[in-house]
């Protein structure tokens, strides 16, 4: 296939423009984080005129009155909560999706429909009932409660994704493994899961992001600044009368960085994982 130089150049021009559009707002946040002012810095130039790392220093080294290193503890909270959410969410989603893909049992179709339907009810109105339920389960003010809520909220999407992906894996492979004497669990663990790796990566990423970015529930359920997750800490820079934009921007970059890193680490799975499942959704 021969293509003219012109077409290639044109393709590059379009892609570069798209990249500029997608990066410009981010650069602008970087600029706010690096500029000394605490205000909205609003101008066309996305590069800071004067560079200081004060905002980052203040955000990263914040201590409370008891001398606890807040940022460190909140980072730990975020990592623990998001990690546990990923683990719990993924294990729940994988088993459910496998059953929905392979076995026939009563209520299966209704279950699949329910999953989709739950995505349609606005989440903002669920706070009041959720609080009451968690209280009855004695899960208020605990990371456990957060993990449970986050992993179930991301569950419908994860189950749909994974079920679609499992459907694309030929059953013959499992049948062959059974012939060789593998147990049902071994088939699942040693044959199916390794084949589903791209979809697992995407699902894990999705669960992780749900937990990592959420702040309303976290701020409502947790009663100790040292156990807040990072987005709550970030939200504290937005006040009633004024917003500490410099701190907010620096914090936003710190909060976004791990998600971006994960995206880049997992991006080779992203394409396959998202669509192979969707092809047969």
């Amino acid at each position: 296939m021969k293509r003219s130089q012109l077409t290639v150049a044109l393709v590059h021009v379009v892609l570069v423009l798209a990249c500029v559009a997608s990066l410009y707002p981010v650069l602008w946040v970087v600029k706010m984080a690096l500029s000394p002012a605490q205000s909205l810095s609003l101008s066309l130039n996305p590069f800071p005129q004067e560079v200081t790392f004060d905002h980052f220093r203040e955000v990263l080294l914040s201590h409370d009155s008891q001398g606890r290193w807040l940022f460190g503890r909140q980072l730990l909270a975020s990592v623990v909560v998001s990690g546990a959410t990923t683990l719990v969410g993924l294990s729940l989603a994988v088993t459910a999706a496998y059953a929905l893909s392979r076995f026939r049992f009563p209520g299966k179709d209704a279950g699949m429909q329910t999953l989709l339907v739950t995505q349609m009810f606005p989440a903002t109105l669920m706070l009041v009932p959720l609080f009451a339920i968690l209280q009855r389960l004695s899960l208020l003010d605990s990371w456990g409660g957060l993990v449970l809520v986050y992993s179930t909220t991301s569950l419908p999407f994860c189950v749909w994704m994974l079920k679609g992906y499992f459907d694309t894996i030929p059953r013959e492979l499992e049948e062959a493994a059974v012939m060789d004497g593998a147990s049902a669990w071994q088939v699942f663990w040693k044959v199916v899961l390794p084949l589903a790796r791209p979809a697992l990566a995407v699902t894990a990423l999705f669960s992780f992001m749900t937990a990592w970015n959420e702040f309303i529930l976290s701020a409502t359920l947790i009663n100790d600044a040292a156990r807040f997750t990072l987005p709550v800490a970030l939200q504290q820079y937005v006040g009633e009368w004024k917003t500490e934009w410099g701190h907010f921007a620096a914090g936003a970059l710190v909060v976004s960085a791990p998600v971006m890193a994960l995206f880049f680490a997992l991006q080779k799975y992203l394409v396959g994982g998202l669509t192979a499942g969707a092809v047969k959704g």
Binding site: L15, P25, L44, F103, A123, P129, W212, K242, V255, G281
Partner: protein, 720 residues
């Protein structure tokens, strides 16, 4: 119940003496340091331990009203007095009547804490509005509006450009002084109902519009603009509050004076007075200690700490005797200002004024409504927002209907059952299947299905201050017949539905076409830098969407935003993005497209890769053009792969709350609100009409359900 209370009593007498008091606040910076130091003093003095928690302002009120009734809240919390009545009706605060010594505080700050003859909490500090003068431009404080107008005339200079005055004129909090100054009453003396259509109101609006028309006051002023104009010497005067002092550059010489008196009426421009108070929870298990702590925070050494390092304007009178305060030009000036201010009424009626007034005020400033007609506009909005309580409905017919519906459904399922077959033969793997699904099913049932059913059932109730009454279908009929306003008004369900559908359609179309176009460009394996492009183009997806929203909100800023900067650089007129429906809607769409196209790009990329390459080679051999190949091969084969993502994308976009709420905020006048943000407003911003909001949510749910059913039918069972 009795056993519990006995237990509580026992614990309160001895066991709990060691349990620390919990104190919640939303302070930052110097104010936070001050409260920490004050609490430490308290512990040193009394031995009572106090646990402090700083909560983000956005989540504070909902956290309090969720936690306290469940006994999971603080013993003492600090909040502005405007919410007192609501807290009182939700039974989350305990009175301080009898303990509080009125003579120790500025009178108006104590008045602000009164609800139905009882006092609640202890006043800490006050916030109100004053006139900030740049003393190089305005050496003498104007005492009357006539003086003021002369000073404005003198200091305004379009050539620099320099404005006489800058303040956030579109905010009713800042307009209120003019309303009172022109002699208007916000509330009817006898009924207490809000009144908008009064001569004083019209005069106040005409006065401010005049300031803007004569060029004394810039258009569409935001806090960021006020700050930069004042610091650059391009605004001679500013109306703002104590928080503004932290934003003024050290080089600027300024003075703080009370707002002038209206020459025509002889009344001063009276701003609202907000009082921050230490409130005691009604559910505290140590009421004595909690009251003592709250009182301690409002007096003496705690006040001194709140002045420095807190920089608050104290409510305690004795503070103004301190030399430190007397020498502080800011704090001492605000005491005079406070003397003229009126405490913001803590009535429920006050809470109903903000939204109608905002609509009227912005309408006048943008020249869409005449000042004389604005009162009527506000009045109409007020009536629409404050529905009469629907009559109670009898429960029995509904219960019967529910039972009949459930029985009918069961019967329908029964008639649809397959041929008689042993359960074990129909579902040979039932046990295994259920075992594998059960963990997820339990989780979903408890944390999604139960709240969901709970939410649906709320739609049949009317909520008023913690009391629910059963009203049957009244919420639904009110919404669907758009009772109280025309179908074409932004408040109407049908209008909002149309906006929501347009919003979803435009967004998803843009997401898919941009995503697909980029995917086609990126598909070519020979393309150089392919990996780099792909990584950079995914960046928007990785940024949390509330950060995206705030970022773009800033970029659409009228005076400083990068977008208007770009337009001016191209020689175009800058746009006021949030004053017209079309541009506000476009701003929302641009933001959401930025955030949503990478998902569709990645999905398309995967779908494209699943199309066998030999189809294209065969088409090439047959001489098909690129466009024919795209239409005949790419699109048909892409459809099944893209459709589920498109459906999911539609559902997500339909309910995309964050972008609407944070970018346009529904401006202008609620026109760009979508159904889910409208539901949120009914639930949390309009007197907590949870039942009405739940009815909205149920309708959203049915719209989406109907729509997915329809697409399923149209596209056949293989998709979704």
């Amino acid at each position: 119940m009795t056993r519990l209370s006995v237990l509580a009593l026992l614990m309160a007498t001895d066991g709990l003496a060691a349990e620390p008091l919990k104190l919640w606040h939303a302070y930052r910076g110097g104010e936070e340091q001050a409260i920490e130091a004050a609490v430490k003093r308290y512990t040193d003095k009394t031995g009572v331990q106090v646990e402090l928690l700083s909560v983000p302002y956005d989540a504070f009120s909902s956290k309090l009203t969720s936690a306290i009734p469940h006994d999971a809240g603080p013993d003492v919390f600090i909040f502005a007095h405007e919410r007192l009545r609501q807290f009182h009706r939700l039974k989350v605060i305990a009175p301080s009547t009898g303990r509080l010594d009125r003579s120790k505080y500025i009178k108006s700050t104590v008045d602000a804490l009164e609800v139905d003859g009882e006092l609640y909490g202890y006043p800490l500090s006050l916030k109100t509005l004053a006139l900030f003068l740049n003393t190089e431009l305005v050496p003498d404080a104007p005492t009357t509006t006539d003086d003021w107008l002369k000073a404005l005339e003198r200091t305004t200079d379009p050539s620099k450009p320099r404005f006489g005055l800058a303040y956030a004129a579109g905010d009713f909090y800042l307009h209120a002084p003019f309303v009172f100054g022109f002699g208007a009453k916000l509330f009817d003396d006898t009924t207490g109902r809000a009144t908008f259509d009064t001569p004083g109101m019209a005069k106040s609006l005409a006065f401010v519009k005049g300031l803007q028309d004569r060029g004394f006051l810039p258009q569409e002023v935001s806090g960021a603009l006020v700050k930069s104009l004042f610091n650059e010497g391009r605004a001679a005067m500013v109306i703002s509050g104590p928080w503004f002092t932290g934003e003024i550059d050290q080089a600027v010489k300024y003075r703080i004076v009370p707002l002038p008196t209206v020459t025509e009426t002889g009344l001063p421009l009276m701003p609202f007075l907000g009082v921050e108070a230490a409130l005691v929870s009604a559910r505290t298990r140590q009421p004595e200690q909690a009251q003592a702590l709250a009182e301690f925070l409002s007096l003496g050494e705690a006040t001194a700490l709140r002045v420095n390092p807190g920089r608050q304007i104290p409510a305690e009178l004795a503070a103004y005797e301190l030399t430190e305060v007397q020498q502080d030009p800011v704090i001492s000036a605000f005491k005079d200002v406070a003397a003229r201010a009126v405490p913001t009424p803590n009535t429920l009626e006050m809470a109903k004024v903000w939204e109608p007034m905002k609509l009227a005020l912005r309408g006048v400033l943008q020249g869409e409504v005449a000042p004389e007609a604005a009162g009527q506009l506000a009045e109409r909005r007020y009536r629409a927002l404050n529905r009469d309580r629907p009559p109670d409905a009898p429960k029995l017919p509904y219960a019967i209907a529910l039972v009949v519906a459930l029985a009918g459904f069961a019967f329908w399922r029964w008639t649809k059952r397959g041929p008689a077959q042993a359960f074990a033969r129909r579902y040979p793997e039932a046990a295994r299947g259920l075992a594998w699904v059960s963990p997820a099913a339990v989780g979903i049932f408890v944390l999604i299905v139960i709240p969901f059913v709970w939410g649906i059932s709320l739609a049949f109730f009317h909520h008023d201050a913690g009391e629910y009454s059963f009203v049957g279908l009244a919420n639904f009929t009110d919404i669907l017949t758009s009772k109280g306003y025309r179908v074409t008004e932004p408040l109407s369900f049908w209008f909002t539905l149309a906006v929501t559908i347009a919003w979803t359609f435009v967004n998803v179309t843009l997401h898919v076409s941009i995503g697909l176009a980029l995917a086609i460009l990126l598909k070519d394996p020979l393309l150089k830098l392919r990996g780099v492009y792909r990584v950079l183009l995914i960046v928007p997806w990785a940024v949390p969407n509330y950060i995206t929203a705030l970022m773009w909100k800033g970029m659409f800023h009228r005076q400083f935003g990068a977008i208007n900067g770009l337009l001016s650089a191209l020689g175009l007129e800058p746009v006021s993005w949030f004053t017209q429906f079309s541009t506000a809607f476009a701003a929302n769409v641009i933001t959401n497209t930025w955030l949503g196209f990478p998902f569709m790009m990645v999905v398309s990329l995967g779908a494209l890769q699943s199309i066998p390459q030999d189809l294209y080679e065969a088409a090439e051999v047959d001489g098909a053009s690129k466009w024919t190949q795209f239409r005949r091969i790419t699109l048909p084969l892409l459809k099944p792969a893209l459709l589920p993502s498109v459906i999911l994308g539609c559902v997500w976009t339909f309910n995309m709350f964050n972008i609407i709420y944070l970018v346009s905020g529904g401006e202008p006048g609620g026109a760009t609100d979508i159904l889910v943000s409208e539901a949120y407003r009914w639930a949390f911003q309009r007197n907590e009409q949870y039942g009405f909001a739940a009815a909205y949510a149920v309708l959203i749910f049915f719209v989406l359900l109907g729509w997915t059913r329809l697409t399923r039918r149209l596209t056949g069972p293989e998709a979704a």
